[in-house]
């Protein structure tokens, strides 16, 4: 979760404002939302992902399902795919998850019933970057119709995203091999500070004519973690296909949670549908993204100034909340035990945990860990 420079959680000012508006609106009640969710939320959420001028939206071949966070969107999508993709109830369709990935990806698809979950090459530890060739090879070798979970931006946990050129190569292989793109978009806006930039990959795939799913989370970019606000965007060949897909997703939702929670969706819908509030929100998002970017550049410059062995450009080249520092398990143990700095054994740090007050200490500690421990 995001933290301020004081190390505190941050409720976005625009969220506070909108919550007050909702509280003051006596015409609102607590009635059930439709099964697929609040219509104004669904339409706006998909518009954010695909862009105002999205041809797919114009052609009415976009469907949306309000879900409980990004996880809920992934799960409804996974449940649907298991039932209806590549045949009926084909649990044997391979599902590819990046190595490494958010560990819950595996569980979501497994509990949805898929029997063959594999990894695709992603992180190159030696060069501390994307293993594009390995990734493309895996896609070439993957059975046709395999499902690939792609991180739309700010890859979790590595912070390493393909460049636009690399995305183009990925898309080309996926198209040729008839692979299904399932995007996980948990950080739109939060990664670069720009909604459009962070949605580039998803929009490119749409422009290339793919049918795809995109699981969107508004936990981070709206700071609405505990309200469970998510959206599953479905892009299909035409309106008729999308309509049938949504009717079946409705059946899946009905036996999972019946209908989604209203509070968070109301906040997002109200914000996105008002030009003024929308601008305010974009400003809040940029505030968060900029702080993270600042911490990255400050950490890197300190490590370079200290002369810490190794190269540290990956700290600023990586994007989003997380960074794969490259520290090995022993060095991580040193950080935790001796310096009381908590990070994952993988060397992943949450950049949000850095503040102007602790930057020096963290940089020095990394320096010590790298020089003392090999």
């Amino acid at each position: 979760a995001y933290r301020t420079d004081e190390g505190q959680p941050w409720v976005l000012p625009v969220v506070k404002k909108v919550e007050q508006m909702i509280a003051n609106d006596n015409s609102l009640n607590h009635e059930y939302l439709p099964i697929l969710g609040l219509p104004e939320f669904r339409a706006n959420a998909s518009r954010i992902a695909l862009g105002d001028d999205s041809p797919a939206i114009k052609e009415k071949r976009v469907g949306s399902v309000q879900c409980l966070g990004g996880t809920g969107a992934l799960r409804i999508g996974a449940d649907f795919l298991r039932r209806w993709y590549n045949g009926n109830n084909n649990t044997a369709t391979p599902v590819y998850v990046s190595a490494p990935s958010w560990e819950n990806h595996n569980s979501v698809f497994m509990d949805a019933g898929f029997k063959d979950i594999r990894t695709y090459h992603y992180w190159d530890a030696a060069k501390r970057g994307l293993d594009l060739q390995g990734l493309l090879n895996d896609m070439e070798q993957a059975p046709e119709c395999s499902i690939f979970i792609l991180h739309a931006c700010a890859h979790n946990p590595t912070g390493t995203d393909p460049t636009p050129e690399q995305w183009k190569q990925i898309a080309a292989v996926m198209k040729r091999r008839s692979l299904f793109p399932f995007f996980d978009s948990a950080y739109q806006g939060f990664a670069s500070g720009s909604l459009d930039k962070d949605a580039w990959a998803v929009r490119y795939f749409v422009s290339e004519g793919f049918e795809l799913f995109c699981a969107q989370s508004f936990s981070k970019n709206f700071g609405l973690y505990n309200e469970r606000v998510g959206n599953l965007t479905v892009v299909g060949k035409d309106a008729d296909n999308v309509q049938r897909v949504l009717s079946q997703m409705e059946k899946i939702v009905r036996t999972t949670w019946s209908n989604p929670p209203s509070q968070g969706a109301r906040i997002v819908a109200t914000t996105l549908s008002s030009p003024q509030l929308f601008d305010e929100w974009k400003g809040n998002v940029k505030t968060m993204a900029d702080r993270v970017l600042l911490m990255r550049s400050e950490l890197r410059s300190r490590l370079e100034a200290l002369g810490t062995p190794g190269t540290w450009n990956h700290i600023t080249e990586q994007i989003g909340m997380f960074s794969f520092t490259g520290l090995n398990p022993k060095q991580v143990e040193y950080m935790v035990k001796e310096k009381h700095i908590y990070l994952m054994a993988s060397g992943r740090i949450n950049m949000c945990g850095l503040t102007t007050k602790n930057l020096d200490y963290v940089a020095k500690s990394i320096h010590e860990a790298v020089t003392k421990i090999q």
Partner: protein, 401 residues
């Protein structure tokens, strides 16, 4: 070509279809009796005062929006358990239970169903009363279990087929799962009397069945939360370690906030901890952690003495209005000159009433009188008001005389 060419159009939801048709109707006298949500005497949704107060208190605390634990808001789950089990419950006091927050009743039922599919190896069969809430069947089926039925409703008398139920239940294979509606049976409104519950508990114990209680109307049925939870508490006292799904949609009017809970009564606190760990493993790949808003409101109400008192009064108010509409409907039918026995309308309890009307009669009610209900003759008494009960009685009399 599309990946989805072979995907069939899902069937329209039967209950939604009723509301859709109602909306299109231009008759000023129209009535929507399909709605599964409480309405006040003006036919409007009712936001409880205690809910408004709780919301104001919550807003003033200016809390952050950090993720809840996977199992939900602890103050909420503890209060939910205490509400269901009773503060003097040995099971509650000893801690030999686990309660996790669920997405209202449906989400709680589904967590339980998934849990049973994974850990209850003795049987794949869930026995539902005939009839049951329409969504029970697909929930258990999607969780990977199979559905069976036991006799419950007697259409001849519009009441409980107790001997049929006892007969069927006594023949259920040992260690199967049986689902019971704790109170205000949906859709019939027919509940067992306390003596009948005692006999049901005895036979269920004899057959060593896993009892799954669905309690969506505690407080809303009789107006008394303890009375409505009587069966749940009795079973536990008889040594039956039940599992339980609770909803706060109706009794707190928190429908769209999705406040619910799933409870497992265990042998001891240690077992409860182990069960809890497995429930979390099931929840995480579904939606990670639950939504805070409804749980916070419910928790504030249950844990703040003044609010709790106010809530008990308001929930009784809702239940009383429903009961009074039942009474008025019957007396109006008599006034219309109906010679039928409508006693079941006042004998039944909760939001719904199985009128006993046949599909042809229902169709006439819809077409000729713009009175909308589901084909099985079920009406939501919540949709009846003192302003339209006379019209409803008139319409029913016309199609049944």
């Amino acid at each position: 070509s599309s990946w989805w060419s072979h995907v069939e159009m899902g069937p329209p939801d039967p209950i939604l279809g009723v509301t859709e048709a109602y909306k299109r109707d231009t008759n000023s006298k129209k009535m929507n009796l399909g709605v599964g949500a409480y309405r006040d005497d003006n036919g409007k949704p009712y936001v409880l005062n205690c809910v408004r107060k709780a919301e104001a208190m919550i807003a003033s605390k200016k809390m952050d929006k950090e993720y809840l634990p996977i199992g939900g808001l602890a103050d909420f789950t503890r209060a939910s358990a205490e509400l269901a089990l009773g503060e003097n419950s040995e099971a509650f006091k000893s801690g030999r239970y686990v309660t996790v927050q669920g997405i209202s009743g449906t989400g709680s039922l589904r967590i339980g169903a998934n849990f049973l599919q994974r850990f209850f190896k003795s049987s794949r069969n869930v026995y539902l009363p005939k009839p049951s809430w329409g969504n029970h069947t697909p929930i258990f089926r999607d969780a990977g279990l199979q559905l069976q039925a036991y006799r419950y409703y007697d259409p001849k008398t519009c009441s409980l087929d107790f001997s049929g139920a006892m007969d069927d239940i006594s023949k259920i294979p040992e260690k199967s799962i049986i689902l019971l509606h704790a109170c205000a049976h949906n859709p019939t409104g027919v509940d067992p009397r306390q003596e009948q519950w005692k006999e049901l508990a005895a036979v269920v114990k004899k057959r060593n069945l896993l009892v799954y209680f669905d309690m969506a109307y505690q407080g809303f049925a009789s107006g008394d939360i303890n009375r409505d939870a009587w069966a749940v508490r009795y079973f536990i006292e008889q040594g039956i370690n039940i599992v339980l799904s609770q909803s706060f949609a109706k009794n707190m009017g928190l429908y769209g906030e999705r406040a619910g809970a799933f409870t497992v009564i265990c042998s001891d606190a240690d077992e409860a901890k182990r069960v809890e760990s497995q429930l979390k493993i099931l929840i995480r790949p579904m939606y990670s952690n639950p939504p805070v808003n409804g749980a916070r409101i419910a928790s504030m109400i249950l844990n703040t003495p003044d609010l709790r008192k106010e809530w008990l009064t308001e929930v009784k108010g809702m239940a009383d209005r429903i009961i009074s509409m039942r009474t008025q409907l019957v007396s109006n039918l008599k006034k219309e000159g109906s010679s039928h026995n409508w006693q079941h309308i006042t004998d039944q309890i909760g939001m719904f009433c199985f009128t006993g009307l046949k599909p042809e009669q229902v169709e006439r009610l819809i077409k000729e009188f713009s009175v909308y209900m589901t084909k099985d003759g079920r009406i939501s008494v919540a949709g009846v008001t003192s302003g339209n009960v006379g019209y409803l009685a008139h319409a029913i009399h016309q199609v049944t005389k």
